[in-house]
Symmetry: C2
Subunit: 288 residues, 2 copies
């Protein structure tokens, strides 16, 4: 396959509504330690989970366009909400011979079918669950029973840093109970791996906990083997872009990524596109 | 004062980021039972509390413009986040001899100073607390000590209907403890009155709980006495407009308003303005 040589040093773009996708990035970097990555967390407009579909499409288009503008040839949509609702749209709009967009829903369904004995439960955002896309993807692979339940408090609990509190444990217990009789619980939102201890405490004996992120990373490795032009081993660098407070992103993000985040670059929306910008933090009443 | 007679049958507009402002509307309707109201809940784009300031300005402009387009001459900003950040901007942009915009922050500060023995604590959204506007307004009235703390989990807990669960009680206890030694706790977000039982359980003896909504209503009554052209007793009607799922708005909103919500009209954003629209609920992958 003849490809533009410049693409061989292209970073892999990773798109997320905020911090959560850093738990996916962590697995991607573990699997591909010499690849360069550029991560865009739309934390200034998160959470996406309760938003209207049209808004999710608008925002994710802006994120994909920014990542391509940053030099990525391949964008991984780490966010389950975007992947469940907008992946096909993003692929139809942006995928070319030189540019691709991949998601997490099909890998999550494949991992769940491989892990389950027949009764799969998924917890995710309201929007992810309303889409039914995870169930649709399991159906293509298996006749297993699938239950999806929205767990809208879990991402805010993680962002508050309350994973190890009575609030975190009680909320996880309520949501696990809402799934009824399942043998595998899929963490269908990238925030939830930080609640692993609460999930392990809440799950009955014999019920497996599945974080799809390692499976997403393993599939990306084999995808890159089959599509060698889209990214290659380089320096193992990481750039982080965020639409929210960069200082908060660096502090909170380190917990998700499992390593310090040195520098976070700020993006602002200007005329329907995300662009590098200086962030002004106003106090009091704001008049423009 | 010579006024357009048509204004005398204008409804009072009430603006909120979602459902919470219905706890304020409840008090307004109790105080002004024969006035007509039109309520706009921007629930499709809520929560505002963690958003960038520019986004809060954009959204609240659209809401105010829609309420004036619906015939209101007076708009009450029920949302503490919008009132703390954007009220002065909205007043500068929209207030004329015939149109006014009022907020909740100054009434909340006045009520707090009247209730407190000298140490006031306020819980609100991250954006409300970051603005420092409540403290600024208390300072104009008194030298009392003020502590503001963000309580970002409380509004999601109320929207999930978990006010009376172990999760709701534990979260309120943590946030009340974060205020330290205060004698009055101000509910600085319109969701929090639904957590009254959890607050009463968490507050030490002698610490008062203050919901500003009745004070907001009392001040609106005296304001209308001084400004008789902006709204008059009529049929006591209520229209509800929402940018989110009208069925969910009616179901959840009834808990906040304390009475059934018969009909909720849907608004969508089109070209930077909110307009009446038909709501389409897509499932699965969405391609446009």
């Amino acid at each position: 396959m003849a490809r533009d040589p410049a693409l061989f040093c292209a970073p892999i773009g990773v798109l997320d509504s905020g911090f959560g996708g850093l738990t996916v990035l962590r697995e991607l970097r573990r699997a591909l330690p010499l690849h360069d990555f550029v991560y865009l967390g739309d934390s200034g407009r998160a959470p996406y989970g309760g938003r209207e579909v049209e808004t999710v499409l608008d925002f994710s288009e802006q994120c994909v366009e920014r990542l391509f503008a940053e030099g990525a040839a391949l964008v991984v949509v780490a966010c389950h909400t975007v992947s469940s609702v907008a992946l096909r749209h993003l692929q139809g709009r942006y995928a070319t011979a030189d540019r691709r967009v991949l998601g997490v829903t099909i890998p999550a369904a494949e991992c769940a079918v491989a892990a389950s004995r027949g009764r799969i439960g998924l917890l995710g955002t309201a929007r992810t669950v309303a889409s039914g896309t995870f169930t649709t993807e399991v159906r293509k692979l298996s006749a297993m029973a699938v239950v999806e339940r929205a767990a809208p408090l879990l991402a805010p609990i993680v962002e508050e840093g309350w994973e190890e509190t009575d609030v975190g444990f009680a909320a996880v217990r309520h949501y696990v109970e809402s799934l009824g009789n399942v043998d595998t619980v899929v963490l269908g939102c990238t925030h939830y791996p930080l609640l692993r201890r609460a999930f392990e405490a809440a799950l009955p004996a014999g019920v497996a906990l599945l974080d799809p992120a390692p499976g997403v990373a393993a599939r990306l490795v084999t995808w890159l083997d089959r599509h060698p032009g889209f990214a290659s081993p380089a320096t193992g660098s990481l750039r982080c872009l965020s639409t929210g407070d960069p200082a908060r992103f660096a502090e909170l993000g380190a917990r998700f990524l499992g390593e310090p985040l040195r520098e976070v670059e700020f993006l602002a929306e200007r005329g329907g596109a995300l662009a590098p910008s200086v962030r002004v933090v106003p106090r009091g009443q704001v008049v423009r």
